[in-house]
């Protein structure tokens, strides 16, 4: 459904299952995919662990990334960058050279207007909302996945930060990355115009359209959608289940 180089928007009211879909694609152990398949290129990734999915080129920027006290951003990023670039690397084998890594990290941090001091902080530990989102984009930039899911990477940011985030993502993803953007805002989509817009309600994709659908939803909200799909709307209300159909 998502082709390399294409941007898709995934929209829908709160609780409609957008993040859940993302988590299921990334392989979160809490979600079980009960039917359907998820293919990446020609590979069925459902049998893969999250790290195998990452090494195969999948990435998700999380809405609320978890803190990992005591683990420095730079150490974590050096490990993950090494593994993603060298998918066959075994534990204990060499990491990418420090000099090369630092140069690349600095380049990407400069672009995101982040101070190098940031690399010494513990992963997401005590980060402000804006710092968290920026750190997720930094990882996107370093890991250069084939397909990325961005889960509200623009929420909780002020106008300037949203602009910076949007432009950065556009630059990182330019022409080669497949993007699935989960958002409530339109800023991110202005810089990253979606080829398709999908609307989720009650755990299902109920409608797919072009960029104009995203624009409509942004301006008029979900009233039309809710009215048009009463079953899905009822499901959305009731939803506490963690099942996902994709």
């Amino acid at each position: 459904m998502l082709v390399e180089g294409e941007t898709h928007a995934l929209m829908g009211p709160n609780g409609s299952g957008k993040s859940t879909l993302g988590m299921a694609i990334m392989g979160h152990p809490k979600y079980e995919v009960t039917s359907g398949t998820i293919m990446l290129d020609d590979q069925d990734i459902l049998a893969m662990s999250p790290d195998e999915r990452a090494r195969a080129g999948l990435f998700m920027a999380f809405q609320r990334p978890v803190a990992i006290p005591g683990v420095k951003m730079a150490d974590f990023l050096r490990h993950s960058t090494t593994n993603v670039r060298n998918p066959d690397r075994k534990e204990g084998e060499d990491l990418i050279p420090m000099k090369e890594f630092r140069k690349e990290l600095k380049y990407n941090m400069d672009k995101l207007e982040m101070d190098m001091q940031f690399a010494r902080r513990y992963v997401n530990d005590g980060f402000s909302g804006g710092e968290m989102k920026r750190a997720e984009i930094l990882q996107l930039a370093m890991l250069q996945p084939t397909f990325a899911i961005l889960d509200e990477t623009d929420s909780g940011l002020d106008a300037d930060a949203v602009r910076l985030a949007s432009e950065s993502i556009a630059e990182i993803g330019r022409a080669k990355m497949g993007l699935l953007i989960i958002t409530h805002h339109d800023k991110l989509l202005v810089h990253n115009p979606p080829k398709f817009t999908h609307v989720m309600l009650g755990g299902r994709i109920v409608e797919t359209g072009g960029i104009e659908l995203a624009e409509e939803l942004h301006e008029s909200g979900y009233e039309r959608i809710r009215a048009a799909y009463p079953d899905a709307e009822a499901q959305n209300e009731a939803m506490s289940s963690s099942e996902v159909t994709s």
Partner: protein, 471 residues
């Protein structure tokens, strides 16, 4: 002498995890019979040509050992005291250069990385192999400053007055059953005296290696840091794995005088058949600081609670404790801080990790004596449990006899978070790498207190522990 180091059969499979797990073929030059009785104690003392007072001290301690019951708290101790060798002399004499050490034993310590560490960043080294210190060196600079760093047996001969003044005064034989046992059969250990005002930049290190099977190692360490002096002492401990148990029961006494500072770092990585039952205590005088940094990764059972008695105003005691219990291991580790004088401050930070059915306990005592006005103490203990089979317990004891004091205690227990694991693995880290990273992050606040070389070693040991279960 033949150089023969037999790798354990598992070495190939587990790779580096068994860096420490190899046996050295060595014919002891002298060995007492198995078991303990007054005859054995006399034999050890005679062998060492000790003065009468030390023999009397030993015999009295033996009586105390025999009269004291086994502790009923802590871990399960199942030791047959008559099935242990209490004294085993590995070589004739002690080397002052590694070339004077028999080839096989020298190679043992080379594999453990000691000579290299000595060349790179240590001021002095003692290496103990079974019952005796077989190598000792101290830099010339320290010698010239009047620093004494020798093994305790030599100190008994060469610095007998200084030794006798303090020996057994901080931890009397009556203190506990294992302190009494050590007092009866002690051998080896470090004796350190730092003259007033001398500050030692690089650490002094001792390395304790148990090589023989059914062995008891009972080193006795005494450190005196005179007024205004500073020292960092580090000890490492390893042994090969045998099917039967061995016992390590040390006594460590430290005196930190006015304005002086002592840091004592232990990285204990005993094999999993070793009972590690150790008594460590420091007294701290006016405005002096004592810090215990205690890393327990190995052994089948460790019971160890380094203590600081703050005897005079302004004294500061600090204990940083890290315990890692894997399969079949119980770390009953902790700390004791006793505020005797006013305006004394203390801090305990304990971090424990339990994995694969391992059990970590924090057992700590904070005591503020009558008269210790304005004492301040803070305890933080955090436990991380890696799976459902593992266990963590906390036994904090707080006894306060004064009103105007400040006492804090925070404790947390967490399981390694599914969310944290998912986050790291979703970025391409394997589950083992991710767990190791989370665990290293958990102890990072303590590890960053270590000198770089030891911090690297500690992280590596944790990594090995994490990988060990996979194989």
């Amino acid at each position: 002498m033949a150089t023969e180091i037999t790798p354990d059969a598992k070495t190939e499979i587990l790779g580096e995890i068994n860096k420490y797990d190899f046996r050295t073929e060595n014919e002891a030059v002298f060995k007492v019979e198995k078991g303990i009785n007054a005859g054995i104690v006399r034999q050890i003392s005679a062998m060492k040509e000790e003065p009468q007072w030390m023999l009397d001290f030993r015999l009295e301690a033996l009586e105390i050992f025999e009269s004291k019951p086994m502790p009923e708290w802590g871990g399960d101790i199942d030791i047959d005291f008559q099935d242990i060798y209490y004294y085993l002399k590995p070589t004739e004499g002690q080397g002052k250069t590694w070339d004077e050490v028999p080839e096989n034993i020298k190679e043992t310590f080379e594999r453990l990385g000691l000579p290299q560490a000595e060349r790179e960043y240590l001021s002095g080294v003692k290496a103990q192999f079974d019952s005796e210190v077989i190598y000792g060196s101290v830099s010339e600079d320290l010698d010239n400053l009047g620093v004494i760093f020798t093994d305790t047996d030599t100190a008994l001969k060469e610095h007998s007055e200084l030794l006798r003044e303090y020996f057994g005064t901080i931890i009397p034989s009556l203190d506990n059953k294992f302190a009494a046992l050590n007092s009866a059969v002690w051998s080896g250990g470090s004796f350190i005296y730092i003259p007033p005002g001398v500050k030692i930049e690089f650490p002094l290190q001792a390395y304790f290696r148990i090589n023989a099977e059914n062995m008891g190692q009972f080193e006795r360490t005494l450190i005196i840091v005179d007024e205004g002096a500073e020292i960092h002492y580090v000890e490492g401990c390893t042994a090969p794995t045998y099917s039967s148990d061995s016992l390590h029961s040390a006594v460590v006494e430290v005196i930190v005088k006015k304005n002086a500072r002592c840091r004592y770092t232990t990285i204990q990585n005993w094999a999993n058949n070793i009972y590690n039952l150790v008594t460590k205590r420091a007294v701290c005088m006016a405005d002096a600081t004592m810090e215990w940094v205690d890393g327990n990764l190995g052994s089948q059972l460790t019971m160890k609670y380094p203590a600081v008695y703050m005897m005079e105003p302004g004294a500061h005691g600090e204990i940083l404790s890290i315990a890692f219990s894997g399969k079949g291991q119980h770390q009953d580790a902790g700390a004791k801080l006793v505020h005797v004088a006013p305006n004394t401050t203390g801090q305990i930070i304990s971090k424990s990790i339990s994995k694969d059915g391992g059990r970590s306990s924090y057992r700590g005592l904070v005591r503020v004596e009558k008269g210790a006005h304005n004492a301040k103490n803070n305890v933080v203990c955090d436990a991380l449990i890696l799976d459902a089979d593992s266990r963590s317990d906390t036994y904090p004891y707080i006894e306060v006899m004064e009103q105007d004091v400040s006492i804090g205690h925070e404790a947390s227990v967490s399981r390694i978070g599914e969310e944290q694991l998912f986050y790291l693995t979703s970025r391409g880290l394997s589950e083992a790498e991710a767990s190791a990273m989370i665990v290293n992050g958990f102890i990072e606040p303590l590890v960053k207190e270590l000198p770089m070389e030891y911090a690297v070693e500690m992280n590596r040991l944790i990594q090995l522990q994490m990988e060990g279960s996979v194989g």
